[in-house]
């Protein structure tokens, strides 16, 4: 079809007029500050989780309660019971903060949802910390229910359950940072899901089973897992006279891992947002 008038073609494709070059300069809009935007992301994520995640929270809790009941037949009491109860309680944190958050960020990244945040003047840390904080918060009811149920089932004292107020946020920070990093770094969303699942399985096997019967190599792997320190800190407080220095030491490890993994997740977010 040769219907194009000949004079159209040469200059026709020019979108630039050459003479018009009075570029206007505009002031930049305000930057969103870290805390207000962190709070905004946290609130939004919390409401999101309320809508979409309640069934999964039930799953997380029932899974841990089921493990407690199952282990009741194997373990009679003493230090083994302590690690079973502590491990199942922290498992709820691992399920939500590690597994679900890895899936969330994996899907967000794959579907182009990160563009929304990347075109807003919000600090990357606010997006990652807001989401991680919301997911960690959502583990609170499940963890409490599991811990109380476990204590009653195994006849452990409820005296020091308040230590969960430190264990949940610190283990939550470590695990959700890891989950967010998995989700943001995995090249495909399925891989993010697999990584999250593997992390949770590790937390399940290495955290719930009493360590005394494990071979050396497995115990070493257990020491590498950040949730272990949350489990140990919690388990120590069941004793008649807990060694608070060791509890604090374990919690400090959680906090340290949390800072590092959240920093890695923030870096991963920055990397994923601009491709």
């Amino acid at each position: 079809m040769s219907v194009v008038p000949a004079e159209v073609l040469p200059g026709g494709a020019r979108a630039v007029t050459g003479t018009v070059r009075a570029t206007v300069t505009a002031e930049l809009g305000p930057r969103a500050r870290l805390w207000p935007s962190l709070v905004a992301v946290y609130r939004a994520q919390l409401s999101r989780a309320r809508v979409a995640r309640i069934p999964l929270l039930f799953v997380a809790t029932f899974q841990s309660v089921g493990i407690l009941i199952m282990m009741r037949g194997v373990v009679d009491g003493g230090s083994e019971a302590e690690s079973v109860v502590a491990g199942s309680a922290v498992l709820v944190v691992a399920f939500v903060a590690l597994n679900l958050l890895a899936q969330y960020f994996g899907q967000l990244r794959a579907s182009g949802g990160l563009d929304h945040y990347a075109t807003l003047p919000v600090p990357p840390a606010a997006v990652v910390l807001g989401a991680a904080g919301a997911y960690a918060s959502f583990t609170v009811p499940g963890t409490l229910v599991t811990a109380v149920f476990g204590c009653v089932l195994f006849g452990l004292p409820l005296t020091h359950l308040w230590v969960l107020a430190a264990v949940i946020p610190l283990a939550g920070a470590a695990l959700s940072g890891l989950g967010a990093a998995f989700g943001l770094l995995a090249p495909r969303p399925e891989l993010a899901t697999v990584l999250g699942q593997l992390g949770m399985s590790a937390a399940l096997l290495l955290g719930v089973l009493p360590p005394d019967r494990m071979p050396e190599a497995v115990r070493f792997a257990r020491d590498l897992l950040p949730s272990t320190y949350g489990v140990e800190a919690f388990a120590r407080t069941f004793g008649a006279d807990p060694d608070w220095a060791l509890v604090l030491g374990d919690l400090a490890v959680c906090a340290g891992v949390g800072v590092v993994s959240l920093a890695v997740a923030t870096w991963a977010y920055r990397r994923a947002a601009v491709r």
């Binding site: 020019r14 979108a15 630039v16 206007v24 300069t25 969103a32 905004a40 939004a44 563009d115 075109t119």
Partner: protein, 339 residues
């Protein structure tokens, strides 16, 4: 649509966004099991654009023409291999993070907002655009009201229809004023009422604040009715840029004839057989672009004699931007829509 009314407030001398030599090449991918190899693709190829203050500037092209890639480079979401993007005096290639403080972007995906209520999506976006709580809530209420979304404010985006969800995302773009709006197919799936709400909201901001709009579309009718100027993209290159009327003048000597056959074309009629090589076939539909007297002859042929028995429907139309795209050598035979 009333966007014409606002063109009086355009500022023809002020360039808001200048793009020079923008190039992005996706590297070749080696084939693996299950995935065939893809050759190197130039998604944008030396693109040059000047967008002026207060205008609605369109990027028109079929899917895969490079529109979204171009927009992602202009919004700082993607680094170009070469070239510059200057928006309101800021170098976006060197400082991509500044784009977020100059423009508001409506992408094609809503996954980040899907599980929020309409109200919270707008408020949160406003807060992340740097507004304080009170400002964000005030602007949220005003925008939801303006777009007729107040009755849906408490509903989750996921539960809305495609058009309503799109409108809710558009609302969040408007919370926290920006001098440049970049909208990637904003009206997809919307009914006429929602479309009108979008364009009148855009018009109001143009009239009151001199807001500039960069619109990505593959909808020819929308392009003709709302755009002040349009750049036609094909395989990563700008093949034409002018007002819609100016572009259509380039193919003014043409008439589009569409023939729809009942079952198949009567190729035993010699005149019809001769037309075949000039027609773009799409199932039972033939599209022909002809000089007016040729078109008259074709209509006479197919409405009489043996060909008429096989004819289901025919239309004669003056050229649209789709014809411009094809006349300028656009490669895709399909991909532009009229809706």
């Amino acid at each position: 649509m009333s966007t014409r009314a606002a063109s009086a407030i355009r500022h023809p001398d002020e360039v808001v966004c200048a793009v020079r030599g923008l190039t992005k090449t996706y590297p070749a991918v080696r084939g693996r099991r299950g995935t065939p190899a893809t050759p190197e693709v130039r998604a944008t190829d030396g693109v040059e654009l000047d967008i002026r203050r207060g205008e609605i500037f369109g990027l028109l092209g079929p899917n895969g023409a490079g529109k979204s890639t171009l927009v992602r480079q202009m919004t700082g979401l993607m680094r170009p291999d070469a070239g510059t993007v200057e928006i309101l005096g800021h170098d976006i290639v060197r400082h991509p993070e500044r784009a977020a403080r100059i423009l508001a972007y409506l992408g094609q995906e809503s996954t980040a907002l899907d599980e929020l209520t309409v109200s919270l999506a707008a408020e949160t976006t406003g807060r992340l655009r740097g507004l304080d709580v009170r400002q964000a809530r005030r602007e949220r209420d005003a925008v939801l009201d303006e777009l007729g979304l107040t009755p849906l404010a408490g509903r989750t985006l996921r539960k809305l229809s495609g058009g309503q969800r799109r409108l809710a995302c558009f609302a969040s773009v408007l919370v926290g004023e920006r001098p440049l709006l970049v909208l990637d197919e904003p009206t997809t799936g919307m009914d006429p009422v929602a479309r009108r709400a979008v364009w009148s909201a855009v018009d109001r901001r143009r009239a009151e604040q001199g807001t500039t709009v960069l619109l990505v579309t593959h909808n020819v009718i929308e392009a003709e009715t709302v755009l002040d100027r349009v750049a036609v993209l094909d395989r990563g290159r700008v093949i034409a840029c002018d007002t819609p009327a100016g572009l259509k003048e380039q193919v003014a000597g043409e008439v589009r004839v569409e023939l729809v056959w009942r079952e198949r074309a009567p190729l035993d009629v010699p005149e019809v057989a001769a037309l075949r090589e000039r027609a773009v076939e799409s199932g039972r539909r033939w599209t022909l672009r002809l000089a007016p007297d040729e078109a008259r002859a074709v209509v006479a042929t197919v409405t009489g004699g043996a060909a008429f028995a096989a004819l289901d429907d025919f239309t004669l139309a003056t050229p649209s931007l789709e014809d411009v795209y094809l006349a300028l050598g656009g490669a895709a035979r399909q991909g532009l829509v009229r809706a």
